[in-house]
Structures are given as C-alpha cells and as structure tokens.
Amino acid sequence: MGQYLIRRLLIAIPSLLGISIVLFAVLALAPGDPFEELATNPAVPPEVRANLRAKFGLDDPVPVRYVRWLAAMAQGDWGFSFVSRMQVDTLILQRLPTTLFVIGASQILALLIAIPVGVYAATRPYSLFDQVANAFAFIGFSLPTFFTGLLFILVFSIYLDWLPFIYRADISATGWQWYWEHLRQALMPIAVLGLFQVASMTRYVRASVLDVIRLDYVTTARAKGLGERVVITKHVVRNALIPVVTLVALQMPAVFGGAIVTEQIFRIPGIGSLLISSILANDTPVVMAVTFIFACLVVLFNLIADIVYGWLDPRITYH
C-alpha cells in the first residue's frame, strides 16, 4: 500500500507540471504586457522602462521565465495582488476554506441522494420509479447552475422569504445562533451545487449497480437464502460503488465550474468569486494563482480517488 501511494504521488507530479506548462503557455502567448501602462505614459522615460523590464526578467526567453515562475510558485512566492494590497497566498488561504466547505457539503448531499435513488432504480429497471428518476436526472443536468440558483433565490428568498440570498462571512451572533445563521445561508448554495451533481451521479450509480446485479455471485447470495436487503447492501452496493468513485473524481472539474457560478450568484467569499472579481479588476497574479489552485485541487481529488479505489478494491494490485 505504501508503495502504491508513492507511485500515485509520482504520477501526479507530471500532470501537475503539464498543467502548469499549459497555464504558463496561455499566459506567455497572451498579448498585452504588465508594463503597457508605463509605455503609454509619457512621463516614464524609455530607459527606465527597459531597466524595469530587465529587472523583472520580461525579456528572457519563455522557458527561462517558466522555470523562474515555477520555482517562485513552489517556494510559496505567489506574487502580490495590486487590487487587494496583500500577498496572493494569504488572500487565497483566507478564501479557500469557504469554497472547500461548500463543495464538500454539496458532494455529501449529492451522494446521500444519488446512492439510494440510483440503487433503488437499478433494482427495478424500467419501472415507473426508474423512469421518473431518469427523467429527473435529465432535467437536473439540463438545468444550468446559474438558473437553478436564480430560481432558488426567487422561490425561497423572495416569495417565501425563508432564506437569505447573500452569504455573509461576518455574522455577529454567537453560540447556536451563529451555527444556525451559517446553516441558513449555506443551504441554498449547497443545494444548488448538490442537485447539479445528483443528476449525473444517480445515473452513474444506476448503471454501475445494473452491471453488478446480474452477476453470478449475487445469485449465489440469494440462493444461500440471504434477505434481499442484505444482498443489495452488502453484496451489490459495495462492489457497484467502486467505479462510481472514479466517476465522481472525473466530475470534479465540472463541480469547480459550478462552484464558481454558485459563489458568484450567492456572493460567497470563496476563491471562485475571487477569480471573477480579479478578472474584472485585471489582477493577473491572483487570476493565475486561483486557476492553478483549481487545477491542483482537481489533481488532488483524482489522487484521493485513486487511493480510495485501491483501498476499496482488493483486486487492484499495488505494484
């Protein structure tokens, strides 16, 4: 197991490097120049500009700049946000927990709904329940997150007036009241992001259970006289969920996309809304860093999925 872990970690490094190359290539290919403003400013003499360019190494060839950028990123020097007037890494670390909380909670919500529904639908394929679940799944992934978000605000905040539609980080209440307020404001974003996941997950679970449920060992379990409930929960679901782990990990890039939209709608102070506001404010260091963080998170979740997969499925060899 230890060796397997190390091997997976080593596989993750080239993909991180590859992602960083893609990101840097995009940045290097992009027209525009951080010193454009200086260039149009007649008060700045050309030699000062040239000196500044040389100081920041902007005239070096692209590979040299890439290695320097990568070294700086690896050392934790992520640059300085000119808009927020603080180090980029402090800014991101402030925002990251909120994003991870919303994404994590929505994934748990999605699994809690998708697994029972998917399993129940698969045990009765083409029944009324299955067809209704299937239709809802289609509706679920045809509804873009931004529209579900607006619909939720319309129904729960404006018509019913149950939930607040702006996420506030500075709630003044204490004790239980604090938790209650937090839950209330997090409910809609989590539900929006979760429902977006439920749709595709339900179909994965159903397909995966259908693959397993007709295998001979399930018939054997039934023939032994085990109850249907035991057969489904202990024999079928356990095996059927193994491929679902991978599919959930493959969905992560889409989840981050959904998280950006959700954070923007509900004004959650996470890294997704930070990305949008930095783009609107032309804050390049923050934009690059947040994009890279999202890429790292995707690689991290793939890694976790691989490890969980190895742990769930003893047939995977660790060598």
């Binding site: 993909s15 590859g18 992602i19 893609v22 990101l23 995009v26 940045l27 992009a30 027209p31 525009g32 394929p125 083409y126 239709a135 289609f138 509706i139 992934f141 045809s142 509804l143 873009p144 997150t145 931004f146 529209f147 607006l150 619909l151 605000i153 319309l154 404006i158 179909r203 994965y204 397909a207 259908l210 693959d211 449920i213 007709r214 001979d216 399930v218 018939t219 493959l250 890039p253 889409a254 981050f256 996309g257 950006i260 939209v261 923007q264 709608i265 990305l275 949008i276 783009i279 609107l280 934009v287 690059m288 947040v290 994009t291 999202f294 890429a295 998170l297 995707v298 690689v299 793939n302």
Partner: protein, 313 residues
C-alpha cells in the same frame, strides 16, 4: 448468467423489427430505433420549433431588439410585448429570438471544433502502435484534468481585447468562445474514437481491405471511420448542449459577449439584479436555455439507443 438486463428499453423491440424488415438501410433502421424513444421524438419536435422560431421569428416579430422606451419599463406579458420588457423597455421576445441565434450558433460551432479535434487525435492515437498513441492519450488525460471554467475564464481574460480589435467585438468574442469551448471538450470524443479504432482495426473486413492493398488513409476514411461514427454523433449532440451551457455561463458571469448582444446568458446576467421586481425577465431566458439543452440531451439519449444500442448509461 442469471438473466440479462436490456441495455435499453428500445433495443429488443428494435431487434424484432430488424428481423421483420431486412431491406432497410442502416440509417432507416436507426430511425426506427430512435422512434421508440418517445421523449426523444418529442424533443426533436420542440428543438425544431425553437430553431424555426429563432431563424424565422425575427422576420415575423420585427420589433427592434434595442428600441429603448422608458414608458414601458419592466412590464410583464402584454399584447405589445408577449414576454414583457427589461429595465430599458426593450422587447424581451425580440431579444430572446436574436440571442438564441447566437447561443445555438456557438453550440454548433463549438461542437464541430470538438468533434474535429477529437476525431483527428483519437484516430491518430488509435492507428499508431508506438509512443505517439500513448503520448496523445497522456495529453488527453491531462486536458481532462484541467479545470475547464477557470481556464476558459483565464483565456478569455487574456485574449479578449486583442481579438476584439482584430475581428470586431462580435466576431472576436465568437471565435474565441467557440475555439476555447471546443478546444476544451474534445477529450471524451478522442477517447471514444480511439477505443473504437483499437477494436475495429483488428476486424476481418479491415484486414481484407488491407490485404487488397488499401493505403492507411483509405483504411481509416473508408472502412474504420464510418463504423466508428455512431458514438461520435451521440457525443457531438451532447456537446452542443454542453457548449450552449458553457457560453451562457460565460455571459452570465459578465465575461462573454458584450452587453449589446443579448445572448440568453447575458439577458439572465442583466436580469438577476431585478429578480424581486421583474422575475419574468430572468425566467424566460432561463427557460429557453433549459428547454433547448433538455431537448438536445433527450435527442442525444435517443440517438444513443439508435446508433449505439449496446451501451448502458
């Protein structure tokens, strides 16, 4: 085996049909299977109606999309304005009809880009036996683990201004969005095509063609590719829906088309601050996106039954 679950409701019935009538072409046969998916057939009708409305609507409903009239601000449905008006008194129906053209055009063009890239890369990876194939698959996996929306936003942030000055505000953004959405969606197609190629290239009919002296290009274009097309068409259909959602998302975040081009996502972006006083403004474009995407997804499901009947999911 204790029994088998049909891959889809429609397959067995279709197989029975096949036995009865042998003289149909494969496409007619696929159509027969497609017709057994009632929701897909209804979706074709709905999508056809939407496309027709978008193409011909502006000729019938000739209200200009940017006629500002502050006396009719934020009105709900009426005879003058069937879908109401926005905060400048512009007619929503005219704007949605015009925006739909752009949303659908972006979806179709991005799909074409994705299918072309995916098919070419998948075909090369599927035909080569050496390191080229594995390198291309590594690239595919790398692109699969890129976070799409952040990257999309990054590219648009960096390249928007220069393309705008080169191709004009509308054309520049259109080209950029199509290339970026298409360029980030080719991976599933490449994987599908490669898997198909790997199995097809060992089949007897390909070997026979090779024995007759067919060149590699001819093998691919005449023999392997047509047989690998079914799943690609299905993936392409779903890609149209995904690209429409991606474009709307960009516009909704205020980073897609410029404000004077009312794509569906852009109208939603403008409407979201008036949700409490004019909900109709947000509901109609949202419903338009939802209905279009839903019907495309159902058509994709029907096509999967028709062209690729073995696959469950």
């Amino acid at each position: 085996m204790a029994g088998s679950t049909r891959a889809s409701l429609t397959t067995e019935a279709a197989a029975a049909d096949q036995r009865r009538a042998r003289h149909f072409s494969p496409w007619l046969d696929a159509w027969r299977r497609f017709r057994r998916h009632p929701l897909a057939v209804v979706s074709v009708a709905i999508l056809f109606a939407i496309v027709l409305a978008i193409l011909l609507g502006p000729f019938v409903w000739s209200v200009p999309i940017n006629a500002i009239d502050f006396t009719t601000r934020l009105q709900t449905s009426s005879w003058q304005h069937p879908l109401g008006t926005d905060d400048l008194g512009q007619d929503l129906l005219a704007r949605l009809l015009y925006g739909g053209r752009i949303s659908l055009a972006v979806g179709l063009a991005a799909m074409v880009v994705a299918i072309l890239c995916g098919t070419i890369i998948g075909a090369i990876a599927g035909m080569s036996r050496g390191w080229v194939g594995s390198a291309l698959m590594w690239l595919t996996d790398l692109f699969l683990s890129l976070p799409q929306l952040p990257l999309l936003l990054l590219v648009i942030y960096l390249f928007r201004d220069s393309l705008k000055s080169a191709f004009g505000p509308e054309g520049g953004v259109f080209i950029l969005i199509v290339i970026v959405i298409g360029g980030l969606r080719w991976m599933p197609v490449a994987r599908l095509v490669r898997a198909q190629f790997l199995s097809l290239r060992e089949k007897e009919f390909v070997e026979a063609a090779r024995a007759l002296g067919a060149s590699k290009t001819r093998l691919v274009v005449r023999h392997i590719l047509p047989n690998a097309l079914g799943p690609v068409i299905v993936a392409g259909t779903i890609d149209v829906a995904a690209a429409i959602i991606a474009e709307s998302t960009l516009s909704f975040l205020g980073l897609g088309f410029p404000p004077d081009i009312p794509t569906w996502g852009r109208v939603l972006f403008d409407a979201k601050d008036y949700l409490d006083i004019a909900p109709h403004w947000a509901l109609f474009p949202g419903a338009a996106i939802f209905l279009t995407v839903l019907s495309i997804n159902f058509i994709g499901d029907g096509l999967r039954d028709a062209l690729d009947p073995r696959k469950v999911m």
